[in-house]
Amino acid sequence: MPWLSTLIAVPVVGAVAVALLPKGADKLAKQVALVVSLVVLALTLAVTIQFSPRGERFQYVETYDWIPSFGVHWGLAVDGIALVLIALSAVLVPVVILASWHDADGTGADNPPKRSVKTYFSLLLVLEAMMIGVFAATDIFLFYVFFEAMLIPMYFMIGSYGGVQRSYAAVKFLLYSLFGGLLMLVAVIALYGIAGRNTFMFPELVGVITDPTTQKWLFLGFFIAFAIKAPLWPFHTWLPDAAAQAPAGAAVLLVGVLDKVGTYGMLRFCLELFPDAAKFFTPLVLVLAVVGIVYGAIVAIGQTDMKRLIAYTSISHFGFIAMGVFAMTADSAAGATLYMVNHGFSTGVLFLVAGFLIYRRGSAYIADYGGVQKVAPLLAGAFLIAGLSGLSLPGLSSFVSEFMVLIGTFSSEAVAGINYAVFAIIATTGVILAAIYILWMYKRVAGGPTAESVAGMKDLNGREKWVVAPLIALIIGLGFYPKPLLDVINPAVDTTLANVSVTEHQAPVPVAEQKGAGE
């Protein structure tokens, strides 16, 4: 059974079905969308369960010719890295659908205009299909197609359903991403031409480009696209605008999944296709990553808008992920991959809870809140847990990944005379800053005396509990027992790094043996 194609087809069919529903059938549209997304989740679970971590690297391989003239295939397959990200998408979409139940209805606190409900959910499902496709694609061209096409539904979700400055944000998001994507297109074309294999299949292109100069240029083409997507400092400014203006659900998918495509692309394509260039640029990337970590955190502290703040925290977190990828140790890379998943969950729930708050209060300004904890303890509690996950509290999932990234980076061997431990140490200050921005926000929103404007605020209702509960359960569960994910991720990361000719997953050589070898 073509599992992956099915995974892509189901939401597409669902989207079409939702779009074709008659005009007034808003409720039905939501229900259909939810059911479809749950079906996708079930299918994804089936795929995940059948995946054998120690088996072949790529499983569920499907390869059909799509455009033979260009050497393009409908090539799908997953390795551990892609699998967990697909799972992330599949988990988040139903949650987001449930969370966005009324986002298009126009029933929020500040009476936003009513918009087409079925279009919104249809776009969500289209987006889901593309998210799964982009992670499952083993054909670089196909990857690119999904990479770019993904922008469009998100563009409409921001532009049509977002906040006051939505069209500015949407255009900025689209153009920025498009610009990066086009640079990548050039690199994709050049890769095809220079490789001369007449195919875009990723496995056949690994290790083909050997000339260092060529590698560097192509690397840059890919990397800038991914750096914009991820986003790395200084290509980040679209994200706060987009995330702040997007409806909460869309923001979750934007930051939780779409941006992961950037870091995923770095790990999958930048490293494996251009290993030498990747090593050459590592110091640069690490500098950008570390700057992003600290800078994102500092700017986050100064934000007055909740969603912007969360967006800046994400910029900081993406710095961690990029650092983990480019430190190129097994721990850091596995940590980075895990981080992609965990960040999806933690930022997801943070955005969603912030969305609930904003939906009730009608404002995203932190100053408009105060004392929510008193009137809506569950809501505030969920907000706190989400925040704590954002500051990587041990016991919550993001701790494991952040820890692995940092320790992996710290233990990476010095390359070209630069000891990357320095980067890890600077990055660790992000841990302190994270505490400041999260707790300060929490204090201003939930602490202190209850503000008049939030006095009548309702606590989480049943639907919202169902939105928050699974994510928090995942965050805590994975915080204590990340092994299932890591067991899937580690072999894939090892293979990736082997292709970059970095040694396999192992602990640093203990000091005793070092001494022994030295004598």
């Binding site: 033979p68 003239s69 260009f70 690119y144 532009g159 049509s160 086009l182 031409g193």
Partner: protein, 517 residues
């Protein structure tokens, strides 16, 4: 001096598609002369459409049954080779759907000779007068396009240029509304067209002076044999180029395009933006590849500059446009720049056929999308006719989501977003360009695409994210023809964006043997 002239051989079979179009045009003239006024349209429509469809069928028949000829036809005047057949097919398809638009009521002036705003005009409008002459005129133009793209010597090319242009000069001036603009477009197009064809002609003279022949193959072989007169050749090539660049709207010869596209009746704009561009690129390829292929080292740098300038000017100037048709005109300029990248990317035979195939595919995708976009433009109207000003398009997505959605889709195709035909079109041109050593151009192309995306996106923002104006334009209930055009264009844009392989195969096939000389 007993000189019985030997009868020329003309391969009627091969030329039949073109002859059919010209024949239909002549029949159209006869209809004008003989049929009663009230019947004319009823007769014109089937004649026109059937002749175009028939011509298309003949091309297919030709390709399937006889294959691609290896010799030039009509005493070496016309080359019905693979690319020509493909381009003919493309032109005919585009002409057919443009014709459906032209067919629409209310597009053309009731009485061209009546002064705008005069009582005569009011009378003519009241009586429902309409110029049915547009049918034969359009057919002549289409015939000229077919000829232009398959001309195998410069004389035929010049004549074809005029055959193609003269009817268009006329048709540009026949808009029903805003006639002053329309007439202005007409006169500008005419004067500048005549001016530029003067350059073309002088270039032709110089090339003739160099080679002693105007046969494209002959010029090509003369490049190797003639010495000492290179300056004639270079100037000649430059001036030929000017004439052709003018037709495709390459900078700095692009200035007419926005004015004319804006002023002309929209269906004619559609025909020009699609058919003329395709035909002109056919001619460009023939001149620069067939006749001057061995001179590519010399013309390439200049063409680089022109291509870059064209892309940049097209993309940047479009940003601040406020009229939708004008914006599409600038977009068309930018696209001409992208296509020029393909023209530059020459090399060995394999490289050439790759580039050629890309250009052919691009022409098809761009042409169809363009016609579709202009068809949508014809449907958005307010009291004064089409609502050209962009501000009038605000909130269209709320008022008629389907139409706005389709138009947005066309715009995305122009921007080259994946899963639209425009993406593969661009890819098909860029990919061979990179392997042909034009990476720099591709980078410029990509950057201008990004800039260009801005104004496409701006329109989408207007349509979907802005609140509709209170007295905004209405969307006319489309006629069957217009609806068909939009549907066909949208379908083609989707299909070519998702499953382009069959058409790519066709283009590959058409391009595989390159041009005959």
């Amino acid at each position: 001096m007993n000189g019985a002239i030997e009868a020329p051989t003309i391969e009627y079979g091969q030329l039949m598609p073109m002859l059919l179009v010209f024949g239909a045009a002549v029949v159209g003239v006869l209809i004008e002369a003989l049929a009663p006024r009230y019947l004319r349209k009823a007769i014109h429509v089937p004649v026109t459409l059937l002749s175009l469809a028939g011509a298309f069928a003949l091309i297919i028949l030709q390709a399937v049954r006889d294959g691609v000829p290896e010799q030039a036809s009509a005493m070496g005047a016309i080359a019905v080779d693979g690319p020509a057949l493909f381009i003919w097919g493309v032109i005919l398809v585009l002409a057919f759907i443009s014709m459906l638009l032209i067919n629409d009521d209310d597009q053309f002036v009731a009485q061209a000779a009546a002064v705008p705003g005069s009582p005569e005009e009011e009378d003519a409008v009241a009586q429902g007068g309409a110029h049915t002459e547009v049918y034969p005129l359009a057919l002549f133009a289409i015939g000229g396009m077919l000829l232009f793209s398959s001309a195998n010597d410069l004389l035929i090319m010049f004549v074809a240029l005029e055959v193609m242009s003269l009817p268009l000069y006329l048709l540009c001036g026949l808009a029903r509304r805003r006639r002053l603009l329309s007439q202005e477009a007409s006169v500008k197009y005419f004067l500048l067209g005549a001016f530029s064809s003067g350059f073309f002609l002088y270039g032709m003279a110089l090339v003739y002076g160099f080679a002693g022949t105007v046969d494209l193959g002959g010029i090509s072989s003369a490049l190797a044999s003639v010495g000492g007169q290179d300056s004639l050749l270079y100037i000649g090539v430059a001036l030929l180029g000017v004439g052709l660049f003018f037709k495709i709207g390459a900078a700095p010869f692009q200035a007419w395009k926005p004015d004319v596209y804006q002023g002309a009746p929209t269906p004619i704009t559609a025909l020009m933006a699609s058919g003329t561009l395709v035909a002109a690129f056919g001619a460009v390829l023939r001149v620069f590849w067939v006749a001057l292929g061995n001179l590519d080292w010399d013309w390439r740098p200049v063409m680089w500059a022109v291509a870059i300038l064209t892309m940049v000017v097209g993309a940047i100037l479009a940003i601040t446009q406020t009229d939708i048709k004008r914006m599409l005109a600038y977009s068309s300029i930018a696209h001409a720049g992208f296509l020029l990248i393909g023209v530059i990317a020459t090399g060995d035979a394999e490289q050439n056929s790759g580039s050629l195939s890309g250009i052919l595919f691009y022409l098809l995708t761009y042409g169809i999308t363009t016609v579709g976009a202009f068809a949508v433009v014809t449907m958005v109207r307010d009291a004064g006719g089409e609502a050209g000003h962009l501000s009038r398009w605000a909130g269209l997505g709320k008022r008629s989501p389907l139409l706005a959605g389709i138009f947005a889709f066309f715009l995305l195709a122009f921007a080259g977003i994946p899963l639209t035909s425009g993406f593969f079109g661009k890819y098909a041109v860029f990919a061979p360009a990179v392997s042909g050593g034009a990476l720099g151009l591709v980078v410029v192309g990509v950057i201008s695409s990004a800039v260009a995306a801005f104004f496409y996106v701006r329109v989408i923002v207007l349509m979907f994210f802005s609140e509709p104006a209170a007295d905004g334009p209405t969307v006319a209930l489309p006629s069957v023809g217009t609806a068909a055009v939009v549907t066909i264009a949208a379908a083609a844009t989707v299909v070519l964006g998702v499953f382009p392989q069959p058409v790519l195969d066709l283009a590959d096939q058409a391009a595989s043997a390159l041009f005959i000389r």
